[in-house]
Structure formats: structure tokens, C-alpha cells
């Protein structure tokens, strides 16, 4: 390997050196914390994703060392590669914050906001995004677009109303399965994800569309309405699977496995396996192996993504590391982005509550009793 050229890039006043060809978003993620722009459509493990949702827009205040002119428009950080000496403003730019709030408003315009009955609630990227960057009210007063629910085969259900058209599921079917059977129909605000005339998706790896979907548009039919994700205990587990890596996260309640997903990193993306490939899992592992004795349990999983589930028992580091000294100083005292402290909102997630000890359906009293006991 020849020596890689390193480019110096400054994001929100924090300088980092990254190899040439890295995107601004990847560089910002290496810094971590609130410096990393949110991304709804970009998925680093899939080629060609990104650029569509516009949530990752950043301001380039200095193009490069050679050509220090700022870029005239905000750029999509997920698809713009860094130049040496580039200076990027993310949360330190008024323009970016304004544009991002606008994008959140646009994304929520036709979103049904049915979080109370949505299986994705608690681990939904759109929930996180709107909580961090959106406004409490909508200015939209017209009817939202609506679609019927579609069954895409035995395991997957499509709620087109919730879809934000990130195209991730289309890319994954292109790149992971041998034949893509769903795609985009129509255009503009009546665009929809669909199979051509009610076909079913029955590829062995198609279950991964559920993992990449940032919202609750594609849901696991074997898990639908069974439980809330924040009541479940994530456990790393593996099995010797002939078709996939077999490295998964089990979502347990007691000894019962409610669902199986691939292991996700702090950006909500599939973790790599030790041999460096993305750890996609097959349908058999995901939908059929729902007994603990199918799996070798490795231990509880620390969910480090900023979400409701991250604030339960097993979070290794709650939230993310924050460059605190920069925030208050450069951003007019704007608080670093932390989601609501769920412990203040709900007793359900008090660290003292031991979810796995609850038997049967739970309600408020259970938690009150449980927490006083512990």
C-alpha cells in the first residue's frame, strides 16, 4: 500500500486529518458527537446512497487551502469529498440550522406522525431528527397523502405513508440480492415504493430492508405490535449460519426472543463483521430463529445511538461525546443536543426497573411497584 494523502479538514472548529476521498460527513463522524450532521438517506455500507434527504447540508466556509473561496450553496456533506484545508460549518452556522429545520418540516409534511402505533418508535431516525432539529408545530394545514398498507410477502409490511423516500431499500435490493423486485413508482409528492403489481419480496436477504429503513415504513411482520423496543433487552448473539455471518442482536423480554436484527453501530448502520464486511443477516436468522437456544448469547448490547432505547439499562455511553467547550462558546449558548432524559419522563426506564423480571403485560403500577422494590 502506498502512503495515503491526508487532508486537513475543520468541522465546527475541530480539525482532523482524514484520507483523501473521505466525505465531509465521514470526517465529521470521526470527530463524533454533535459535530456529525444527521443523515436520513445516506448509508455508508451501500453504494450510491445519499444526497436526497438534504438533512446533512453543511456550509463550506473555505473551499480548500488552494482555493479558499466558500461554496455558494449549502452542500450535502454525505456526497461532498473533503479538500485539504477545507473549513466546514455544521451546527455553528445559522444557515445550516435554518435549512435543516426546513428539511425536517418538509419531511414531516406528509408523515402521518403515528408514532404511538408505530413499531419503529423509540429507534426511529425521523423521531430523533425532528426532536433535535424540528419545531413543535406544523404549519401544514392540508390533507396528508395516504396509502394503503402493503404486504410485501410473508415477513415485511410496507406503510408507504411513513416513508421518507430515502431509497435505501432500493439500493440494498440492488446490491445485496440478485434481483430487485421493488422500486419507485410515480414522481413528486405522490412517489411511492412499490413492487410492480403486488409482487412479494422473497429473497433470502430481503429482510435487511427493515434494518436500513430509517422510519417505520418497512416493518417486521413477525414483530409487529408485539412489544415496544424500549421494553426489550438487546443481547448480542451469534449462530453458525450457512448463508450469513450469523452475528445478530436479539431483542429479549425474559427468555422470549421478540425479534432479531443485525447489529447496528452508533449511526444506526449495520456493524461490520470481524472480516470487514457489513454484517447483513439472512431471513432465516431474522425471522425463523426465535428461541434463545438457537443462539449463542454473548452478552448485553450497549446501544450507543442517541435514542430512547439508548437511555435504558444497557447503554454503555448515554448520548455521545460532546465537544462541550466549543458548543456554548461558538453557538450562542445553544445547548448540546441531548434527547429528553427519558428517566424524567417515564418511570419505565428507571435504571432500577428490571424489565426482564416483569411477567405478563405491564402497566404503570407494575413499574411503580417494581421501582420501589428495587
Amino acid at each position: 500500500m502506498s502512503e495515503q494523502t491526508l487532508f486537513k479538514v475543520t468541522v465546527d472548529n475541530i480539525t482532523i486529518e482524514v484520507p483523501a476521498g473521505t466525505t465531509i460527513l465521514q470526517a465529521a463522524r470521526q470527530i463524533g458527537g454533535a459535530v456529525a450532521p444527521p443523515a436520513m438517506c445516506y448509508y455508508s455500507k451501500l453504494e450510491g446512497t445519499g444526497g436526497k434527504c438534504r438533512t446533512c447540508l453543511v456550509e463550506v466556509s473555505k473551499g480548500s487551502e488552494k482555493d479558499p473561496r466558500p461554496m455558494p450553496k449549502l452542500v450535502a456533506s454525505c456526497r461532498t469529498t473533503v479538500m485539504d484545508g477545507m473549513e466546514v460549518k455544521n451546527i455553528t452556522s445559522e444557515k445550516v440550522i435554518d435549512a435543516r429545520a426546513a428539511v425536517v418540516e418538509f419531511l414531516l409534511l406528509n408523515h402521518p406522525l403515528d408514532c404511538p402505533i408505530c413499531d419503529q418508535a423509540g429507534e426511529c431516525h425521523l423521531q430523533d431528527l425532528s426532536f433535535e432539529h424540528g419545531k413543535a408545530d406544523t404549519r401544514y394545514e392540508f390533507q396528508r397523502r395516504s396509502f394503503k398498507k402493503h404486504d410485501l410477502g410473508k415477513y415485511i409490511q410496507l406503510h408507504m405513508t411513513r416513508c421518507i423516500l430515502c431509497y435505501r431499500c432500493v439500493f440494498i435490493a440492488d446490491q445485496l440480492t440478485n434481483k430487485r423486485e421493488h422500486g419507485i413508482l410515480d414522481r413528486g409528492d405522490h412517489t411511492e415504493i412499490a413492487t410492480h403489481i403486488e409482487k412479494s419480496l422473497d429473497n433470502e436477504f430481503i429482510g435487511n430492508v427493515i434494518d436500513v429503513c430509517p422510519v417505520g415504513a418497512l416493518t417486521d411482520k413477525t414483530f409487529r405490535f408485539k412489544n415496544r423496543v424500549w421494553f426489550l433487552k438487546p443481547m448480542d448473539a451469534h449462530r453458525n449460519c450457512p448463508t450469513c455471518s450469523g452475528r445478530v442482536t436479539l431483542w429479549n423480554r425474559g427468555d422470549e426472543v421478540f425479534r432479531v436484527t443485525a447489529r447496528k453501530d452508533e449511526w444506526g448502520e449495520i456493524e461490520d463483521t470481524p472480516d470487514g464486511k457489513p454484517g447483513w443477516i439472512c431471513n432465516t436468522c431474522r425471522f425463523d430463529k426465535k428461541h434463545t437456544n438457537d443462539w449463542v448469547i454473548e452478552g448485553p448490547r450497549a446501544i450507543s445511538r442517541q435514542s430512547v432505547i439508548a437511555q435504558g439499562h444497557y447503554a454503555g455511553n448515554i448520548g455521545t461525546t460532546l465537544p462541550t467547550e466549543i458548543f456554548k462558546a461558538v453557538n450562542d449558548g445553544r445547548a448540546p443536543h441531548l434527547l429528553m432524559d427519558i428517566h424524567n419522563e417515564s418511570e419505565v426506564n428507571l435504571p432500577s426497573v428490571r424489565l426482564s423480571e416483569i411477567e405478563g403485560p405491564s402497566h404503570g403500577n407494575t413499574f411503580n411497584n417494581n421501582s420501589t422494590k428495587a
Binding site: 419531511l107 423516500l165 419507485i184 414522481r187 409528492d189 412517489t191
Partner: protein, 450 residues
């Protein structure tokens, strides 16, 4: 009469056929280019001519040509953008319908200069009969040795293919056009990489408008320097303007860009004045996506100077008091036209034509249309105007392709210049359903019929 370079022979009977076109001096420029000139010399002539892209953006064509990457062993392509779908613009259709061989000659010279052996004409699907005309012309040209293998014994091969679009405005955006031509969904690509590096099938590609390519023929005939003498400043050569709306003589006119807007509208040679002796209210000077201008700002710039029909003068004053040359779709509105309704029509068009790829455009265009619909139906509230302004501001510049900007500009300009008309609609809900706001302070200051 102004100088005519493109439409000079348009009225010759039978000019559509090869024999008449050749007899009238056709294909002499191609002969000159292929036999006497080097590739560099052709590109140099086009650069010297100062020819600017006629599709709307006005980017210098010669410079675009010089950007094309030339890696070894990778074919290059020239694509002719004939997906003319902008409301108000119909100049390319006229050119292709009456002078198909002029376009083919321009394509041949340009293909030779760019080294494209397979050249594509991406034509709007609705222009079905024009596509037939072009295909017939290609057969004739091939039969006479102007297309195909070893043209004029130079060893240069060039095939021209006509590809029909399927009715999407967005496929006029060059990267969406390339996607569509490849057989994919017409979604614009994220740039970079630009088509000059990775375009059609990831090969270096140049996409040019029909009129731009046709203009290459007179440039080669008369030389770039001579061509640059026509017109004014950086607006060189002639431009086709498709005039429509409330005027006496709608149609396609070739102008040399030294004529004033006032002359263009009122002289008998061009538009022939406002139809029915009415007064001029407003005008969209460059196709539906450019900002609308009220009469007082159209004829004179904000500084009080006469406004001319060229790139610089039309955009004088920026978007605050100016507009753009755009693609040359000149839409004239008389005193009876309602700006709210006009803006709604445009907003509906952009809502319908948004590809739905990126969120600001997908959701924002629909939202703007619904608010305008509400105002038009007499249900508007005063906060709606500010909301519209805020939405267009948030779409503009935040999208992948220029369609978002094109959707935002007409709404922005309508509110900027005609805010009182919007307010009148909101305050007089019932009256606005039956009568018209008419002319107010933005009347044409010069031409008031007695």
C-alpha cells in the same frame, strides 16, 4: 430586419428535405469543418464566437466543450437536449420541425469536434411528429453520406439516434436526461462528477440544447469572430425567442439581442403589440422558471435605462428588479390576467414535474401549490403570503438539481412584485372570485392607449 442566421431559410418550400436544404447551401459548413479544419480549430471557433448555451443557463458552449475528459480508449458522447418542456418555450420544436437538417449538420460538426461516434437526440415524447421528421432526415443524411461510416472519406464515423422521452420535464435537466437515456428512472444525479467526466454510461458526455448545436453551423460558416460581432457584449449571435401570451403575433422570432424589450413587444416585426389594444401588465421573459416582471420594470431597469433583449440586460438588477434570459420563452400578460392564478398554474406544473428525489422540492412544491390554490379560491389568510415566501426561500438552493430553484423563483417574484394583488385576494375573498385586480402602480408607463 434583424440578422437571421438560423431561420434564414425556414420559409423556403421543402427545406425539410435533404435536396432542398443542400441546394440552399446546406452541409457546406460540415464539409468545411470535416475536410479543412482540425478538431482544435473547431472548438477554438466556437470559443471565439462566445456562443452561450441556449437551454436556459447561458453557460459558454465552447468552454463546456473544452471541459470534456479525453481518457484513452473510452468513447465520448454528444447528447442533444431536445426535451423542451418549459411552459412558454417552443423554439426548439420550430427549429427541428422546419430545419431538421440544420440540427443534423450542427450535430455532425459538434460530434466531430468532440469525438462522439454515437450521438443522441433526446426528444420530448410529446413531439412525436417532430421525432418522425428527425428520423426521416437522419435516413436521408445517411443515404447521402453525411452520417454513418467514414463520412466524406475522413474516417470519422457518426451515428445519430433519436430517443423519445416519456413526458417528464425533469428529463430536460442534463443528468436526469442521461439517466433516462440509459433506461433508468429520470432522477437527476448528484454532481460532481459532472457529465463532462462521467456522463452517459459513465463516459465523458456533453449535453447541449438544440439551438446551441444548430448555432454551430453559422459559426463555422462565418467564423467565430464574425459571429461574435452580432449581438452585444457577452450576448453574441442570434437568439430564438418564442413569444406567446396576450400579444397580436405569437410565434418564434430570431433576434440579434440588440433590440429593446419595448420594441420586441410593440413593433410589428415581432409581437405586434398587446392583443385587443389592452395594456401590458407583466411578462415572464425567459420561460416559466424565470422571475416574472411587472411592466414598469420590464421596459426600464430599476436605474431607468432601457432594457434590451439580451442576457445581461434582462438580468440587470438581479432578482430584486430583474429577471433572466432563460430559454427564451417570452410570456406576455395583459391587464386582465390574474397574477395569483398565473402563479398557481406554474406552481402546479412544478409540483407535477418534481421527480420526488429530494425532500425540499418533493414536499415544498406541493405545499406551495396548495396554499396558492387556497388563496385563489378565496380562502386565503394574510399569514399565507409570508408562509409562501418562507417555503420558497427554503427550497431554493437546497435541492439536488435546479428544478427546486425553478419552482421557487416564480413564486418569489410574484410575491416580490405583486404582493398587493395577493393581499387584495385575501382581503376581498368574494370579490376576487368574480373580478380582477387589474393594473395598479406597476402599469406600463409608456404605452397607455388613448
Amino acid at each position: 430586419m434583424g440578422v437571421k442566421l438560423l431561420l434564414e431559410k425556414a420559409n423556403v418550400p421543402g427545406i425539410r428535405t435533404y435536396d432542398v436544404y443542400r441546394r440552399e447551401g446546406g452541409y457546406t459548413a460540415a464539409e468545411k469543418a470535416l475536410k479543412e479544419m482540425s478538431i482544435e480549430a473547431i472548438v477554438e471557433e466556437v470559443k471565439k464566437s462566445g456562443l452561450r448555451g441556449r437551454g436556459g443557463a447561458g453557460f459558454p458552449a465552447g468552454m463546456k466543450w473544452s471541459f470534456i475528459a479525453k481518457p484513452e480508449g473510452v468513447p465520448r458522447h454528444l447528447v442533444c437536449n431536445a426535451d423542451e418542456s418549459e411552459p412558454g418555450t417552443f423554439k426548439d420544436r420550430y427549429l427541428m420541425e422546419f430545419l431538421p437538417h440544420l440540427l443534423l449538420e450542427g450535430l455532425l460538426i459538434s460530434s466531430f469536434a468532440l469525438g462522439s461516434n454515437d450521438t443522441y437526440i433526446y426528444i420530448r415524447g410529446e413531439y412525436a411528429w417532430v421525432a418522425d421528421i428527425l428520423e426521416d432526415a437522419i435516413v436521408e443524411a445517411t443515404k447521402n453520406g453525411w452520417l454513418g461510416k467514414n463520412i466524406l472519406g475522413t474516417g470519422f464515423d457518426c451515428m445519430v439516434h433519436v430517443h423519445r422521452g416519456a413526458g417528464a420535464y425533469i428529463c430536460g435537466e442534463e443528468t436526469a436526461l442521461i439517466e433516462s437515456l440509459e433506461g433508468k428512472r429520470g432522477n437527476p444525479r448528484i454532481k460532481p462528477p459532472f457529465p463532462a467526466i462521467q456522463g452517459l454510461w459513465m463516459r465523458p458526455t456533453v449535453v447541449n440544447n438544440v439551438e446551441t448545436l444548430a448555432a454551430v453551423v453559422p459559426i463555422i460558416k462565418m467564423g467565430g469572430v464574425e459571429y461574435a460581432k452580432i449581438g452585444v457584449g457577452r450576448s453574441t449571435g442570434t437568439k430564438l425567442i418564442s413569444a406567446c401570451g396576450n400579444i397580436n403575433k405569437p410565434g418564434v422570432y430570431e433576434i440579434d439581442m440588440t433590440i429593446s424589450v419595448e420594441d420586441f413587444i410593440y413593433s410589428d416585426e415581432y409581437c405586434g403589440g398587446i392583443a385587443g389594444g389592452k395594456k401590458l401588465k407583466a411578462c415572464i421573459p425567459g420561460g416559466s422558471s424565470v422571475p416574472i416582471l411587472p411592466a414598469n420594470l420590464l421596459l426600464k431597469t430599476a436605474k431607468g435605462e432601457t432594457r434590451y433583449m439580451n442576457y445581461e440586460s434582462l438580468s440587470d438588477g438581479g432578482f430584486a428588479t430583474g429577471s433572466m434570459m432563460g430559454s427564451g420563452g417570452f410570456i406576455v400578460l395583459d391587464e386582465d390576467q390574474c397574477i395569483v392564478k398565473n402563479t398557481l398554474t406554474l406552481a402546479r406544473f412544478y409540483r407535477h414535474e418534481s421527480c420526488g428525489q429530494c425532500s425540499p422540492c418533493r414536499e415544498g412544491t406541493g405545499w406551495m401549490e396548495k396554499i396558492l390554490q387556497k388563496i385563489e379560491l378565496g380562502k386565503g389568510e394574510s399569514s399565507d403570503i409570508d408562509l409562501l415566501w418562507d417555503i420558497q426561500r427554503k427550497i431554493e438552493g437546497n435541492t439536488i438539481c435546479p428544478l427546486g430553484d425553478a419552482a421557487a423563483w416564480p413564486v418569489a417574484a410574484a410575491i416580490r412584485h405583486f404582493r398587493d394583488e395577493f393581499e387584495w385576494h385575501i382581503q376581498n375573498r368574494e370579490l376576487s372570485q368574480t373580478s380582477n385586480f387589474g393594473l395598479q402602480h406597476y402599469a406600463d408607463p409608456i404605452h397607455v392607449p388613448a
